[in-house]
Amino acid sequence: MFRETTVNTALVAILVAVPLVAQAAGEPFIITLATKVAIFAMAGVGLNIALGYGGLVSFGHAAFFGIGGYAAGILASHAQSYTPLMTWPFAIGGTQQMLIIWPVALAASGIAALVIGALSLRTSGVYFIMITLAFAQMVFYFAVSWPAYGGEDGLPIYVRDKFPGLNTLDPLQFFAVAFACFLLAVLVSVVLSRSRFGLALQGARQNVERVRAVGIDPYRLRLVAFVISGMITGLAGALYADLNRFVSPSMLSWQTSGEIMVFVILGGVGRHFGPLAGAALFILLEHELGSVSEYWQFLLGLLLLLVVLFAHGGLIGVLTRRPHRD
C-alpha cells in the first residue's frame, strides 16, 4: 500500500488544505472543526508518549487536559475581571496572553502528572489503568463541587486569549496557532522517541526486567514520560479552552479520557501521526453519523469495535498494511 511517511504527509496536507479551502468557500465552521482535530490530535500525541512508547495505559488523561484548560480559563477570567489571582505571598494577576498562559498550563498539568504518576506508577497493569481513572475522577469531582471557578457551570472566557501579532478571533489564524502547537508536539514526540531516553522507555515497555538488568530504573523513566505526556495533553487542553472560549468539568470526565484513548488507538498506537488520523476520523464520524440517525453513538460504538477487533495497528496500520510499527 503506502509508506507511513506518505500517509503522514498526506494527513498533514489534508489538515492544512481543509481550512484553506473552507476559508475560500466561506465556511468558517469547517475551520473550527479542523482546529478541533488539531487540538484533539495534540492531546492524543501527549497520551501516545505514555501509552505508545511507555506502554502506560492511562485512563486518566482527561485530568491533564482539564487542568490545562482550567489554567487558561482561570488566568483569563482574572484578567477580564481585573481581580488578582492571588495576593499572598506576592501579587499575581490574570492574563490573556497565550505566551504566559501556556507555560502556566504546562507547569500545572506537569505538576499534576508528577503527583499522580509518582503514586500510580507504583502499580502496573489493570491497577494502573484504574488508579489513573480514580485520580481523574477525584479532580473531576473537585472541579464540579468547588464553587470559586463556576463548578459544574464551567467558566466562560468570553474573548479568546491573545497571541502577539495575530488576531486569534479569526478562525484561520487561531487554526494556525493550534496547528503549529500540534506540529511542535509531534516534533517533541519524534525527537523523544529516538533519544536515549526514548530507547530506554520503549525497552522498558517491551521487557522491564531487561532494562533493570542493564542498570536503568524503569520507575524514573516512566515518571518522566508520564509528566511529559501530561504536559502536552495539558497544553492541548489550554488551546481547547480557547477554541470554545469556555472550560467546564466535562473536560475532566472519564468519557474524555476514553475519547483521547480512542484517538490514539483509532489512528494506531505508538505512531507519531496516529493521533491525527484518529482524531480526524473520530470528528468526521461524529458529524457525519449525527445526520444519519439520532442514535449515531450506536454506530460510532460499532465502528470503534470493528476497528479494535479487526483493524490491527489502527487507521495508519490499515493504510500502510503494516499492523506493527517500525
Binding site: 481543509v18 465556511e27 468558517p28 465552521f29 469547517i30 473550527t32 472543526l33 478541533k36 469531582y141 464540579v144 463541587s145 464553587p147 463556576g150 463548578g151 459544574e152 457551570d153 464551567g154 466562560p156 468570553y158 478562525p171 481547547y240 470554545n244 472560549r245 469556555f246 467546564s248 466535562s250 473536560m251 458529524h287 457525519e288 449525527g290 445526520s291 439520532e294 442514535y295 449515531w296 453513538q297
Partner: protein, 379 residues
C-alpha cells in the same frame, strides 16, 4: 468534504395564514437529544416545532442539533450555526452550564437567544443582554415560590437539600429568600448521586416538619422512591422538575400527594393552553411537560415578534419581543426589564387521573413574580 447538513431541517408545511417575511428566518436549536438527559430536550423541541407547525408559517426554517449535554459540543454547534448555517436566532438549551458556554458569545455576535429553559442568574444580573430573553423563568423562580409556599403553609423547621453544583446552590438560596423559618438541616449531595439513604436518615433524625429538595432528573426519581420506602412521612416540597410529566410515571405512586411549584400546568384554564395540550397529545401521543410548554411559548413569542419586525432590524425585533404580544399557555405573560418573565407561580399536587399520574393546581404561590436580579441588570 461535504459538511454536515442539519439533522432535522424542519420546515412547516401548511401555508394557510402565512405572513410572508422579507426573507426566510433561520432558527438554530441546540438541545439535548441523546444520552440520559434527552427527554427534556425532546420535549422542548417537540413543543417548539408544534407551535411552528400550528402557525402554518412556512418562512421559518429550524436547524436542530444534538448537544449531547456537553458544553464543548454546544459551543461548537453554536459556532457552526452562526458561521455556516447563518442563523438569526438561537434557542433550545436545557442546561445552565451549556447556556453559560453558548449565550454570552452568541449575543456578543449580535444573535438573538431565546431560552426555552436554562436561565442562570449570571445572565439575569450584570451579565444580562439586550438580545437574550428567557421565556421559561429565572432559575431561582420555582425555588423562591417553594419558599414562599412553605412560609405561607406554616412550615417552621424545614430540611433542605440539593446537589453540590451552582444550580443547586442557587436553588437553596432561592428557597431561603422567601422562607423565614428555621432550618432543620441543609445538605449538598453529590451530582448524579443515586442513593439517598444517608440523607433520608438525616432527615428522619432532624425532626423537620417539611423537606424541600431540588434533585433534577434521575436523582429526583431515586430520592422519591427511596423516601417513600423509608417510612419517613415528613411532607415533601420541590420545584416542578422532579414531578414533571416526563418522569412522574417512573416515580410511580411514591410521588402521590407531593406539592410542587410550577409556572405551568396542563390545567391552567385558558384557551391557548387547552389548544396546546390537545394538539400536543394528538401530535405526539403523550402529555406535554413543562419543557414542552416552554418550547411552545418560545416559538409563539418568536413568531409574534417576527410578524411585527424583521430580525435584520435588531432594535425593532428586540422591541417586538419585549412586548410579548402572544397568547401564552401560562395566561398572562410579560417581560421584566432584564428580559425574564413576570408571571404567576403555582403550587401543584401530584394526583392520579385514571392510571396516569399528573399534576393539578392547588394554590398560587406567587403572583406577578419577576426575579431578584432585575436591579443588577444595566441594559
Amino acid at each position: 468534504m461535504k459538511m454536515i447538513k442539519s439533522t432535522l431541517a424542519a420546515v412547516a408545511m401548511l401555508a394557510a395564514t402565512t405572513a410572508a417575511y422579507a426573507e426566510p428566518v433561520k432558527v438554530g436549536m441546540i438541545t439535548t437529544l441523546s444520552g440520559g438527559g434527552a427527554s427534556l430536550g425532546i420535549d422542548a423541541r417537540d413543543g417548539f416545532m408544534l407551535a411552528i407547525k400550528n402557525s402554518g408559517n412556512s418562512d421559518v426554517e429550524v436547524v436542530i442539533e444534538d448537544d449531547q449535554q456537553k458544553p464543548d459540543v454546544a459551543v461548537q454547534l453554536a459556532d457552526k450555526m452562526i458561521q455556516s448555517d447563518k442563523v438569526d436566532i438561537l434557542t433550545g438549551i436545557i442546561w445552565s452550564n451549556l447556556a453559560m458556554a453558548v449565550v454570552p458569545a452568541a449575543v456578543a455576535q449580535g444573535k438573538f437567544y431565546l431560552s426555552v429553559n436554562a436561565a442562570p442568574s449570571q445572565l439575569a444580573g450584570p451579565g444580562c443582554d439586550a438580545h437574550y430573553f428567557s421565556i421559561s423563568y429565572q432559575n431561582d423562580n420555582l425555588h423562591e415560590a417553594a419558599g414562599a409556599y412553605a412560609k405561607e403553609a406554616g412550615y417552621k423547621n424545614m430540611f433542605i437539600l440539593a446537589p453540590n453544583y451552582p444550580a443547586g446552590k442557587d436553588s437553596l438560596s432561592g428557597f431561603k429568600r422567601f422562607y423565614d423559618g428555621e432550618l432543620a438541616g441543609e445538605i449538598y449531595t453529590q451530582l448524579g448521586q443515586t442513593d439517598y439513604a444517608a440523607e433520608i436518615a438525616q432527615i428522619r433524625a432532624s425532626g423537620a416538619d417539611g423537606v424541600f429538595f431540588f434533585l433534577p432528573g434521575g436523582m429526583g426519581i431515586a430520592f422519591m422512591k427511596q423516601y417513600a420506602q423509608s417510612g419517613v412521612d415528613t411532607p415533601l416540597i420541590g420545584p416542578a422538575f422532579s414531578f414533571d410529566q416526563n418522569i412522574l410515571q417512573a416515580v410511580g405512586d411514591a410521588a402521590l400527594g407531593v406539592k410542587n411549584t410550577a409556572n405551568w400546568s396542563k390545567d391552567i384554564d385558558n384557551e391557548a393552553n387547552k389548544a396546546f395540550v390537545e394538539s400536543y397529545q394528538a401530535e405526539y401521543g403523550r402529555l406535554p411537560s413543562v419543557y414542552s410548554s416552554y418550547g411552545y411559548d418560545t416559538a409563539n413569542l418568536m413568531l409574534s415578534a417576527l410578524d411585527k419586525a424583521s430580525v435584520s432590524d435588531a432594535d425593532a425585533f428586540q422591541k417586538a419581543l419585549e412586548e410579548a404580544d402572544f397568547d401564552s399557555v401560562r395566561g398572562k405573560f410579560s417581560f421584566a426589564s432584564n428580559h425574564h418573565p413576570i408571571q404567576d407561580i403555582y403550587v401543584r399536587e401530584v394526583v392520579k387521573e385514571g392510571d396516569i399520574l399528573t399534576n393539578k393546581i392547588v394554590a398560587t404561590a406567587m403572583t406577578d413574580r419577576d426575579n431578584a436580579y432585575v436591579g443588577d441588570c444595566k441594559m
